[in-house]
């Protein structure tokens, strides 16, 4: 207890340590059970979440690996196909070359002369026709009609074109 120095303004005893009060609480068994259940559920859920995350991670990694494998396979297939394309293009060029050689003007002429017994056309076999007085195209002058005639013609043209569009 602190000494009283004649004044009550300061009650220092208030600041002195006091023994703690011991409260005897009543144990609530129902509450405890609930708590335990909640903890168990929480624990189960945590485990489940962990498993799910792990499974998801494994699945993602697996898919990535699988996709890499697939990509590699496809890469291989593309390479094979590209090689095949190159080879076939080369073969096409070789065969075209052979064909060009066989169908060259020289080969065709030799075959026509020697095998088929053909001959080149002679100038006497060409018949020339005089074109001075035949097959002349005549363009008709535009008719000079009245306003009504021109309007009638324009309307007729319009409907003709319309009919053509919806034909």
């Amino acid at each position: 207890m602190a000494a009283n120095r004649g004044t009550e303004a300061y009650d220092l005893s208030l600041f002195e340590p006091r023994p703690a009060k011991v409260v005897n609480l009543k144990t609530n068994k129902k509450f405890q059970k609930k708590q335990q259940q909640r903890r168990a559920i929480q624990s189960f859920l945590n485990t489940l979440a962990t498993i799910c995350v792990a499974a998801f991670a494994v699945a993602v990694v697996g898919m990535m690996i699988a996709s890499r494998i697939k990509m590699t396979e496809l890469d291989g297939q593309i390479n094979d196909l590209e090689k095949q394309i190159t080879a076939l293009q080369s073969e096409k060029i070789r065969l075209t070359d052979e064909l060009s050689s066989k169908t060259s003007i020289k080969s065709v002429e030799e075959y026509a002369y020697n095998v088929l017994g053909m001959q080149k056309i002679e100038s006497s076999q060409v018949k020339y026709i005089e074109s001075e007085n035949c097959d002349k195209a005549v363009v008709a002058d535009k008719a000079k009609g009245s306003f009504f005639k021109a309007a009638g013609s324009a309307i007729s043209n319009f409907f003709t074109q319309l009919a053509y569009l919806f034909e």
Binding site: R68, T72, T86, A87, L88, Q89, S90, E91, I93, R94, T96, D97, E98, S100, S101, S104, I105, K106, K120, E122, S123, S124, Q125, Y128
Partner: protein, 752 residues
């Protein structure tokens, strides 16, 4: 224990010597550290680039990918040269462990790949080697067969089949001297392949990949790869037309063989208005698919007799000779063809006109030298056009002298005879002043000789370019063979436009000289080049190879013809040059002009030039036999008479059972159709006489006696002096009466 240690420390303190040793060891360590630091600094800083490169080399594999070489097309987009993937077989003898495998490889592959067995076996013995080429550039079917063989024998570790490119020339020899060829490394070595190497080659690509310690590719997960795609080469579209080129080569080859020509022949056909080369032929030539193969059998036979170095040298020389593109690389004395230019110079300068007169008494004495005309006895009195048409040397010496050296040289330069034409081709010959007389050297004698085309040299390409200037109104064009450059997708990158170098003569002079040249073909010295309906113009030439003849005591000549058609509206010019014909008659008019006639007869209709016949030509034109078989004899007779044809009836029947010639066959005007009216007479035959060497009237009589029809070719309208040089059915053969025999006539008059 602690006590003992302390006492030891106090008793055994480091001595001076120990200190000294320690200092020495430390110093040595310091020196070592300095050395190591210095070396590291040198490697890391001073030689950083070198070692980085080494490291990259060790860790990375860098392979070059070849670009595809550009395609070459003719003017109608026909492929003349193209590249395709092929495969090269590489063997790694290092991986062959057993002798029996070596034997199997040698046995099987020598048969499969057609290689020498012993050489292949020797390659398998190079056990330290990992790279031996077994066969280069095999094609797809063989590569497939080889792959199967490798898999079957489990020799994947021994063989690799790597991609490469091969150049294909589908039309074989056609235009080979123009195209040239590529080498084993796909680089152009000759012709356009070499001249346009940068355009055609493209840019190589690269593939950089990481590799492991053994030099193999890394595992797929660790693989690093960077690819820079190769850039394919650009394509060329030529001005050459493969059909016209074929016509040129076909007839040139025949004449080179027939005349036993020893220094090859060449033909150039050029568009006179643009300078575009439509055909450029050389015979003998080579197949660019097999450029190393000697094509001339005579040369091959000579080489076969040699051995060792002599043989190798002869082979090399023969190959180089056959690769030469004669039209742009060889020089020749132009001879009388050059009179065209002397005439043009004189007309342009007014020192001569169509009315100028000359007198030829068979030669002309200049200083102390007498120069003969080709016509012994001389031409007598001549006008200017006749002097050109008859190719009179003395007249042209006089024309040249009147013109003078200075003006002659001015036009000689103007026509481009002192410079390269600038054609876009490899190895156009250099033109030096050693090949012609300079202005100062043109004294009276030299000028006189040069006026008729001797004692100086030109290239065929110079000659035809100058002839184009005569034809096109006087413009000297720059010749070219590449019309367009295309990128690898076929888009046009560049297009060649015609270039006029200069105006050499006026348009009116061009027209005047063209008319004279047309007259020369129409009845003058160049009449063997006459084509009905096409108004050819041209000049023949037969030049002595003077320098060579003097040196080797020979009498070789160059027979040539240069001309153009149609004369009144020139489109295409042609030059035919036969170098060293070995036949008895070897004038340009006899040898070269008929070649030009045959080529242009096929080329002009193909090139879209329509014939325009004169009334005289129409009247002389052959007929087509009408169909009278199955008709009453009287009807047949009337039909034939209406067609201006004669007839002869064999048998006493009243219906025509067979006719000779048959319907649609060509028959000459006033020809005879034989009409058979009895079965028993159908097998009647007559013997074909020998027409060779006969004049036309003699041949007509022989044909009439044998009851045959004569179809004449190779003749102009003035045919009395020509002689038959070939016939379509050989003499002595039995044929039905009335059969049409095609006989070709040529003029053998000795006009150079």
């Amino acid at each position: 224990m602690q006590k003992g240690r302390n006492s030891k420390a106090t008793t055994k303190a480091p001595t001076r010597q120990m200190w000294r040793r320690s200092v020495i060891v430390l110093a040595l360590l310091l020196l070592f550290c300095i050395g190591v630091t210095a070396k590291l600094s040198k490697i890391q800083i001073a030689q950083a680039d070198y070692w980085r490169e080494k490291a990259v080399d060790q860790q990375m594999s860098d392979s070059i990918t070849s670009p595809k070489r550009g395609t070459i097309y003719d003017s109608k987009m026909t492929i003349l040269a193209q590249s395709a993937t092929v495969w090269t077989v590489i063997m790694s003898p290092n991986n062959i462990k057993k002798e029996e495998i070596r034997i199997k490889i040698a046995d099987d592959l020598s048969k499969l790949l057609d290689v020498d067995r012993e050489k292949l076996y020797q390659k398998t013995l190079k056990t330290k080697s990992q790279y031996e080429v077994v066969k280069a550039k095999i094609e797809y079917p063989l590569a497939t067969e080889l792959s199967e063989w490798i898999q079957k024998n489990k020799l994947e570790s021994v063989f690799r089949i790597i991609e490469d490119y091969k150049r294909y020339y589908p039309l074989n020899n056609l235009a080979s001297a123009v195209l040239g060829f590529t080498g084993t490394d796909n680089n152009g070595l000759y012709g356009l392949e070499a001249y346009y190497e940068k355009t055609l080659a493209g840019k190589p690509g690269r593939i950089v990949t990481a590799k492991n310690g053994w030099g193999d590719d890394l595992d797929i997960k660790l693989r690093f790869e960077k690819t820079i795609d190769a850039q394919d080469g650009n394509g060329l579209v030529l001005t050459i037309d493969s059909a016209v080129q074929y016509y040129a080569e076909k007839y040139l080859e025949i004449v080179v063989k027939e005349t036993k020509c020893t220094n090859r022949g060449s033909v150039i056909i050029m568009d006179v208005n643009t300078g575009a080369v439509i055909a450029m032929a050389t015979k003998g030539d080579f197949d660019p698919n097999e450029p190393m193969t000697i094509t001339n059998p005579d040369t091959l036979a000579k080489i076969a007799l040699l051995s060792g170095d002599e043989k190798s040298a002869a082979l090399k020389k023969a190959r180089e000779e056959q690769w030469v593109n004669k039209p742009i690389s060889d020089y020749y004395d132009p001879g009388s063809v050059f009179k065209t230019f002397t005439a043009a110079m004189a007309l342009e300068e007014g020192t001569a006109s169509e009315n100028s007169k000359y007198y030829c008494k068979g030669g002309l004495k200049i200083n102390d030298r007498y120069i003969k005309c080709h016509k012994a006895g001389g031409h007598g009195s001549l006008t200017f056009p006749l002097a050109l048409s008859n190719s009179c040397n003395p007249a042209f010496m006089e024309i040249g002298q009147k013109l003078g050296g200075s003006l002659f040289f001015k036009y000689f330069v103007g026509f481009g005879f002192t410079e390269r034409t600038g054609i876009d081709m490899l190895s156009e010959s250099r033109v030096t002043d050693l090949l012609y007389f300079s202005e100062d050297e043109l004294n009276v004698l030299n000028l006189s000789i040069a006026s008729f085309g001797q004692n100086f040299k030109v290239t065929p390409i110079q000659m035809i370019t100058a002839m184009c200037a005569i034809a096109n109104g006087g413009k000297l064009m720059k010749p070219y063979v590449v019309q367009q450059i295309l990128d690898s997708d076929g888009n046009i990158i560049s297009n060649t436009e015609p270039v006029v170098k200069r105006q050499v003569i006026s348009e009116s002079t061009s027209k005047r000289i063209s008319k004279m040249l047309a007259d020369s073909v129409n009845g003058g010295g160049a009449k063997n080049a006459y084509i009905p309906g096409y108004r050819m113009a041209g000049k023949t030439g037969t030049s002595d190879k003077t320098d060579q003849n003097v040196a080797s005591n020979t009498k070789n000549v160059v027979a040539s013809f240069a001309g153009f058609a149609p004369a009144d509206n020139p489109k295409y010019a042609i030059l035919v040059m036969i170098d060293e014909p070995q036949t008895e008659i070897r004038f340009g008019g006899t040898i070269a002009a008929p070649v030009a006639q045959k080529i242009m007869s096929e080329a002009l209709p193909y090139l879209g030039i329509e014939p325009v016949y004169t009334e005289e030509e129409k009247a002389a034109m052959d007929r087509t036999t009408p169909n009278v078989t199955g008709k009453k004899v009287s009807v047949a007779q009337s039909m034939l008479a209406n067609a201006n044809l004669k007839y002869q009836v064999v048998g006493n029947g009243d219906t025509v059972l067979r006719q000779v010639p048959e319907k649609g066959e060509v028959i000459p005007k006033n020809g005879t159709v034989v009409l058979y009216t009895e079965e028993g007479k159908l097998s009647e035959t007559t013997v074909v006489p020998n027409f060779i060497g006969k004049t036309m009237s003699q041949a007509n009589i022989a044909a009439a006696n044998a009851r045959l029809n004569l179809q004449i070719s190779g003749l102009g309208l003035h045919s009395s002096e020509a002689k038959a040089d070939s016939q379509s059915i050989e003499p002595g053969k039995k044929v039905p009466p009335g059969t049409v025999i095609k006989v070709s006539f040529v003029y053998e008059d000795q006009i150079e």
